[in-house]
């Protein structure tokens, strides 16, 4: 697209590029770039031992394990059920499908704090579901399991909404071709449909995973927030801030950003591999 641009921009008869671009860059810098730079500068100002001392403390490591572990588990569950929901929404007409389709976006639209207290109410020992599990000694609210439940709620739409459009656009001829070549439904699913959907599924999984790591509002109510046990990374940042340990907060934040960024990078590379294979590159 940009290959044939000789100068900074290609000639156009349309007016307004200068002001529009100027405003865009100014606003972007003021709201996003400068504040983010402040974080990185703050972290860069730390000496290495202090940074390392903060992020390698047992409490931080425990919260990292918890945040990444719970997010991974929730994203995996979402990959499975989100795929199933997308499949059902696209392929099986049923009464109320439009309504259910709209409802899938609820986690995007519902403020996280509301989701948090609602899930806590349900899974607390006296809640609708907590009450059923309590006699068996299963505790969900105020344990890492609760965090997992909240992250499943938050991450679901990512998988559904990335897989759904690809599934809709999938040519029926592909499945017909597989059937005419003698493939069973199951084999067609594994060898024809799933490979076509992998990239979208992976994207949805990655988005849900990344969102889970950073999620705060829906988790803190149900988490219990016990240091070393059920304390997520974002909460730890807030704790540091409340102790006026700005350097510590910045260290953890930078580490989190770097880890999340690396994760997305790895997944993007994986994705490029998957798609590149189709293109034979």
């Amino acid at each position: 697209m940009s290959a044939k641009i000789s100068g900074f921009r290609q000639y156009s008869v349309l007016p307004g590029f200068g002001p529009a671009m100027g405003f865009t860059l100014t606003y972007l810098s003021a709201i996003v770039l400068v504040p983010l730079a402040a974080l990185f500068l703050r972290a860069a100002g730390l000496d290495w031992t202090a940074f390392w001392g903060t992020v390698s403390s047992p409490r931080v490591l425990a919260s990292l394990r918890l945040s990444f572990g719970a997010s991974l588990a929730a994203a995996l569950v979402n990959a499975l059920f989100g795929f199933l929901v997308a499949w059902v929404l696209v392929r099986y007409p049923f009464p109320g499908r439009k309504f259910v389709d709209a409802l899938v976006d609820l986690p995007f639209a519902l403020p996280t704090a509301v989701a948090g207290i609602a899930l806590t109410a349900i899974y607390a020992p006296n809640g609708w579901i907590g009450r059923l599990l309590d006699p068996y000694g299963i505790k969900v609210a105020f344990t890492p399991t609760g965090i997992f439940v909240a992250l499943v709620f938050i991450g679901l739409p990512f998988v559904v909404r990335t897989v759904q459009p690809i599934l809709e656009d999938l040519d029926a001829e592909l499945e017909e071709a597989a059937a005419s070549l003698g493939a069973s439904r199951w084999i067609t699913f594994w060898r024809v449909l799933l490979p076509a959907l992998w990239p979208a599924l992976l994207t949805g999984f990655a988005l849900a995973f990344a969102r889970g790591i950073g999620e705060y509002g829906s988790v803190i109510f149900i988490a219990g927030n016990m240091p070393m046990k059920s304390e997520i990374v974002p909460l730890l940042i807030i704790t540091k801030l409340e102790q006026y340990d700005y350097a510590g907060a910045a260290s953890i934040a930078v580490l989190m950003l770097v880890l999340a960024f690396t994760l997305m990078l790895v997944i993007n590379i994986l994705q490029a591999r998957l798609q590149g294979r189709h293109l034979g590159k």
Binding site: R9, G16, G214, A249
Partner: protein, 303 residues
């Protein structure tokens, strides 16, 4: 990412030919049951819980909780924050979409990526960056303190964090849509002598209106509902720096469950209205796309 499927790519197809290549009915019903059961458990039940808990002590307690001074102050602050953040991000969205969708320039992909950055930053970090910038120990903190300007633990901080969080919504809906619509109509308008504002107002924006509305709906929902980022910068002063989601937290932590869920039910209603509006806009936009396709086909048929 956070806005679900984008408008530019939403045309559902219902292929009647699927009969031969579908699963056995029993498998279909089983999968349908599992999927709906999952959605019931994870989506419907929390929603139901909000309203049940809010009304658990009757309507009097419910409306009483909502009419509380602090609750009203929180509602006012939330509305005000959205009233500042949404228009600003709207103007930004239009400017960015105009520059990106209608012109070719170097570094466009990078710019598009940067616009999406706030979506991939944890809400807590989104709040933290403003504390690091404007807080007492922040870069500008001492100077602000000298001049008696408060940003952190005050309303400006809440507004700033909200703007950051909702920054990409309008732009990311408008850019693909306006790109897809190309530049021919604008060029025609300019050739006929229309000014920049006239072209934007009479040609570009009417074409992109559903994308615009869609972005606004999502932007507004997030602006009113944001919790993490705002929580970091607010300072939680009742009646002063408490937005609705923060007020929910305070009431909940004080075991005033009816109060917390009453405010939460308002936010849940907002979410439901958002979903309904979103579905309506998607439906309208799809109809518009269908019309455009039908028109293109009709023109092709004549030629």
């Amino acid at each position: 990412m956070h806005s679900g499927k984008s408008l530019a790519s939403s045309t559902a197809s219902n292929d009647p030919r699927r009969a031969v290549i579908s699963e056995p009915p029993l498998v279909r019903y089983a999968l349908l049951a599992v999927a709906l059961g999952f959605l019931g458990l994870f989506l419907v039940m929390p929603l139901a819980a909000v309203f049940t808990e809010a009304l658990s002590k009757g309507f009097r307690a419910y409306f009483g909780a909502m009419a509380h001074v602090d609750a009203l102050a929180a509602i006012r602050l939330t509305l005000m924050t959205a009233a500042i953040a949404v228009p600003l991000n709207l103007v930004f969205g239009i400017a960015a979409a105009w520059a990106i969708a209608k012109f070719e320039f170097r570094g466009k992909d990078l710019l598009v990526t940067l616009i999406d950055v706030p979506f991939s930053v944890s809400p807590v970090i989104s709040g933290l960056i403003f504390v690091l910038l404007f807080g007492l120990q922040g870069w500008l903190g001492p100077w602000l303190d000298d001049h008696d300007i408060r940003i952190i633990f005050a309303v400006p901080g809440i507004v700033l964090a909200t703007i950051f969080i909702t920054f990409p919504f309008v732009a990311r809906e408008l850019i693909p849509l306006m790109q897809a619509q190309g530049t021919e109509e604008e060029e025609a308008a300019v050739v006929m002598g229309a000014s920049f504002w006239r072209t934007l107002w009479n040609v570009t924006l009417p074409n992109a209106k559903w994308g615009l509305v869609y972005g606004l709906i999502l932007c507004n929902a997030r602006a009113m509902g944001e919790f993490g980022a705002v929580s970091v910068v607010s300072g939680h002063v009742r009646g002063l720096t408490n937005t609705m989601p923060l007020h929910v937290e305070i009431l909940y932590n004080e075991y005033d469950f009816v109060g917390a869920f009453a405010i939460a039910s308002l936010l849940a209603l907002l979410a439901l209205v958002t979903l309904a509006a979103k579905s309506f806009v998607e439906w309208r936009a799809r109809a518009a796309i269908r019309e455009a396709i039908a028109m293109a086909e009709a023109e092709g048929g004549v030629a």
